[in-house]
Amino acid sequence: MSLLLPESGLLLWMLLAFGIVFAILAKYGFPVITQMVAKRKEYIDQSLQAAKTANEQLQRLQSEGDAILAKAREEQARILKEAKETGERIVSDAREKAQAEGNRMLHEVQAQIKEEKDEAIRDIRRQVAILSVNIAEKVIREKLDTNEKQMTMIERMLDEINNESCQ
């Protein structure tokens, strides 16, 4: 029966021992452990969050990089195309210019040729005139080597002039 009856001395000791143990552990024991675990948990949560953000950032950077790359490719293509166009334009311009120049030169040459031809023709005409005058002089000189002939001639000429003036 004594097993079922609490001893007052033991009650006292138990109260004292448990109270002291509780006081010490409640102050220096368990809160330290649980706080540390809570802090660690928080740290892990933060780390996870940070890792997630970093991952997202990385992904964003990657997609941004891809976008930049695509844009660069496009730009490259555009520049190449433009360069090609410019080149073509330059070539065609040059060609046109060359053609125009050629045409111009041709015209000039033609004009010059024409002028020279005209000159030549004029020259020839002059020569021909001089020649014909000379020839005519010679012919006339030969035909009119006698006085009678000269007189006949003068008379006929005067008749002709008279006829003309009468008319």
Partner: protein, 346 residues
């Protein structure tokens, strides 16, 4: 395995050859689980080998006494007018004449209790000290500190948090202390040699104090809703108005809860000690029945002892877990909020 069995039966054989007198199993068992003024270790050739413990007594008539308990043994020896009663109402306790003085001696249970408390403090404070120079971003502890941390967090996360409710932080040091206190004492009680083996949690005074602590925690921090549920529960008016039947039952319930806690822990641990001691005693009981029976029963007894000790390891944990859980549940119930408040909170 076979060798072990052979050695065990040889021991039984030898015991039967040595057996001279009838063994008082009841006396052995009760003697081991009861409190005593000295820490008995063994009896060697009729010489008691035991550690004497300080006796501290205060009596109204002769004042304060403090001396070694070795003066009082063998039982009945009188010292400074005090002796250990050998019969009567105070059998096994110190009496002065026939009167029981106020006795706060360091008995076997008290010394076991103190040793276990020191052990518990050492364990938890070592663990807490581990964190002192560490940052939360360092590695989690391994080994012993890791084990303690894991156990602490298991109790806090799986028992205290769900049972107590939102303001569990306030009660968690007490509940954790209770858990580890009971667990340490239970486990130390299973160690058969000094400094273990004291039947601390199998003593009703110890469990009573623990239950009273829970009782205080429950009722001191009880909310208005909790007291309203007790004094004016929501039952038909007839059950509470002329004759306060339900309030009486509820009031009674306040006291049955810690009583149940007291008895559950005490009875479980005491029964475990009883069974292990009784099974061990089989060896000595059967020693007188001849070599064959003695040998085989020794083997059986050791096998049973191994089984029971394993079971008691489990019980040691379960009982501390159950005590903590029920305390947490009772505290949680006393923190009850009225439904309006709860909705407001949510």
């Amino acid at each position: 395995m076979r060798k072990i069995l052979f050695i065990l039966s040889l021991i039984g054989w030898w015991m039967s050859a040595m057996a001279q007198e009838k063994v008082d199993v009841g006396g052995i068992v009760i003697g081991h689980v009861e409190d005593s003024y000295e820490w008995h270790i063994t009896t060697w050739n009729d010489t008691e080998v035991s550690i004497p413990l300080p006796v501290m007594v205060w009596s109204g008539a002769t004042g304060f006494h403090c001396f070694s308990s070795s003066h009082l043994y063998p039982a009945g020896t009188e010292h400074e007018g005090l002796r250990i009663a050998t019969e009567g109402r105070h059998k096994g306790k110190i009496v002065e004449g026939d009167v029981r003085p106020f006795d706060f001696s360091i008995t076997k249970t008290v010394s076991g209790l103190l040793i276990n408390c020191l052990l518990l403090l050492a364990i938890i404070l070592t663990t807490a000290r581990w964190y002192r120079h560490r940052q939360p971003n360092e590695n989690a502890p391994r080994g012993f500190v890791g084990l303690i941390e894991m156990t602490v967090m298991m109790i806090e996360d799986d028992v205290i948090k769900p049972c107590v409710g939102p303001d569990y932080k306030r009660f968690s040091p007490y509940l954790l202390t209770a858990f580890f206190f009971i667990l340490t004492n239970n486990l130390m009680g299973l160690v058969p040699i000094f400094p273990g083996g004291a039947n601390v949690t199998g003593n009703i005074a110890v469990t009573l104090v623990l239950a009273v602590c829970t009782f205080v925690a429950v009722n001191l921090f009880g909310t208005r809703e909790y007291w309203k549920e007790i004094l004016w529960p929501e039952v038909p008016l007839m059950l509470k108005c002329p004759l306060p039947l339900m309030p009486l039952i509820e009031l009674f319930g306040i006291f049955t809860k810690p009583f149940a806690l007291t008895v559950r822990l005490f009875a479980n641990i005491l029964a475990g000690h009883f069974i292990i001691l009784a099974i061990t005693s089989i060896i000595f009981v059967t020693a007188a029945m001849g070599p064959a029976i003695s040998g085989s029963m020794t083997v059986l007894s050791v096998a049973f002892s191994v089984f029971m000790n394993s079971l008691e390891l489990l019980v040691a944990f379960i009982q501390s877990y159950v005590f903590t859980m029920l305390s947490a549940v009772f505290i949680g119930m006393s923190r009850a909020k009225s439904e309006g408040e709860q909705e407001h909170r949510e």
